[in-house]
Symmetry: none
Subunit: 206 residues, 4 copies
DNA sequence: AATGAATGAGCTTTCATTCAT
DNA sequence: GATGAATGAAAGCTCATTCAT
């Protein structure tokens, strides 16, 4: 390893260190209540050091949120459903994957939801890069399944929003209930199985 | 009306005036970005006047959130389902009422969700007064229906959370999509009907 | 005097108090070295109070400089020379008036000259509002006198710049030499008389 | 050349490199607005390197200003007028040389004038080493010429200050008017000739 | 009870300076 | 000698809160 490489490694590590600290503090206190000294202390660096890696507090927020957006978005695009898989399997894997992301990143999601309200540019980005394409993808898929006679006829855009909304809401409830709440105690696969069944079959007895 | 009563009436009215202004400004800008001068201007009073009615900015926030909690909670308790009504009708009216509250108060809900994270005491209150009793109520009701063979057997706590989560998530999506988004353009009863059907029947063709 | 009038009087007085303190501190330390706490202390108010009267430190600078620019400019426009007065009398009164302004406001002038270099907008304003019109006025006047055979033929723009430059330079020298320097010890009218004679007759013996 | 000599040569060169960069950046942005990273980049060295050659930012400023003072002063002392040359020729060469220095170094001069106000020690040095000796020299010379009946009788100290002041003022006006201003478009010799004539003969028709 | 000017603690950000490499 | 990341003091500015009127 050359000296340059080692240096770059340290730099990257230091940036990550600050990123992690910011994520933690933002999650705990919210963006406005979090202070740069808070983050510096959490990261174990001086205040000024943060500004060697991020242009501003807002930049730090963006880099956290954008990382999350990209994750959300790319995975969404990658998982284009193979024609072969059954409808139930697709819904199940969709819920599994999405719900996991939501539950595991509840902190960032909460942060995102909160900041999106007051930052129009952020909202535009999130809408364009995440909401619209993901909704579109799902709508197309559901349309296909209806055409194939697998799903019943319904107002697709509403169903898509209800489905995604349910996942978002579950993540939020999980966060409100906290570490000891039901959502964290139930095995992930049980949760996914039950929610999948709800979406596919509803609660009514046939 | 005695002089004392008239005075109290004016006082109450003035307090309401400030409350409304604070609700509006907090909803629009979020707690931290909202300033007392903002609220004073919106209420049409001087900055100092606000402190004659509320002890602090935080006190103002609490009174708004508590008001919302009470509303949510009381309505939840009042609407105990008559044994007579059909399962479908109950679910439909539940979704209708809850979703309406969520959509119409998306701003306050957002505020609540955000502040709950950073104020443990607030979270405790919300959990105890709203989350737990409402979840319990629904769980009991669903259990009853299952016993009556109207609903299929399922993991009740998860279904309850999925149902409530869906409503929360729909309110959030509605807020993200904004004024011109789909959620605001669809007639409320269409929305409710479709979501109700989804919950009752699922999306799979029988 | 009504209560409102008294209040406005106090407000005006407070603003002046801050203005004076800022002028003093800026003059002594220069714009960048002067701090808001410096000015606050000099004015005998709290830091925050300054921001109740001026939007920013830069705004405070502008208000000082603009006051000076207006003074310089308006007087220049008002003193349009009557056709009747003799050339010598005009030059004498011009030097008298201008030099007095320069000497009495050497601090602000110094400040202006310094900040003009780094603030293009300020430079544009100063050039448009002071330099160009004043130079033009003088050029026209000198042209008139040449046509009337009172002044010898010369490159008018250069003469104008040399004349104004001399006044500026004298003010600067006065400031460098300080309180005990020659420029402050000589009676103003002697100074004016000598400079006037220099401009009119030169130093060569005829 | 020994190794030691070569090393010292490199050292000297590096110091000059930093000096030049600092001069450039200070001139452009002013002392306070200029940053050490600015200067380092302009010099093509690292920030830390600057501190191997200069103790502080202020030290760098001093070394620049002192260099300029020495230049101004030495040239002033060196050009002692030969008795032989005519009065007109002396005044002309004085204006030519001084005005050229002023115009070509307007940036440094500006810097000097600005910093002199806030640094008493610097002012003392400048006064003692530049102002006093140069004024004295000129005063003596003018006195001589008056005695020789070449110049008319006048208040010599004032005339000296007016003459030097004119040169300073012209440099400043040149800077205010900027690249496209009149002062930069007129050929240097025309400027010098006109100013010389003004000083010698004045503007009045004889 | 209503007012709003005054306050100053506390925020984000900058940058001269240091020092381990 | 050269480097540039780390540092933290100190700046400009905001705004919740107070209190004399």
């Amino acid at each position: 390893m050359t000296r340059r490489e080692r240096k770059e490694g340290i730099t990257k590590q230091r940036k990550q260190q600050i990123f992690d600290a910011a994520l933690k503090v933002f999650s705990k206190k919210g963006f406005d209540q979090a202070t740069i000294p808070d983050i510096a202390q959490e990261a174990g660096v001086a205040v000024g050091t943060i500004y060697n890696y991020y242009q501003s507090k807002h930049d730090l927020l963006l880099s956290i949120i954008k990382g999350y957006i990209v994750t959300e978005s790319f995975i969404g695009l990658l998982e284009q459903p193979p024609e072969s898989s059954s409808a139930a399997a697709f819904i199940s894997s969709l819920i599994n994957e999405r719900l996991s992301i939501g539950l595991d990143n509840a902190d960032v999601m909460q942060l995102l939801m909160s900041e999106i309200q007051h930052d129009p540019e952020l909202r535009r980005q999130y809408t364009e890069q995440v909401v619209v394409p993901n909704f579109k993808l799902l709508e197309e898929y559901l349309g296909l399944r209806i055409a194939k006679d697998t799903f019943r006829l319904s107002n697709i855009p509403i169903v898509v929003r209800a489905l995604i909304g349910m996942i978002i809401g579950l993540a939020i409830i999980s966060k409100i209930e906290g570490e000891t709440g039901l959502m964290r105690r139930i095995p992930r696969q049980v949760l996914v199985a039950e929610v999948t069944k709800l979406i596919l079959e509803g609660i009514e007895r046939k």
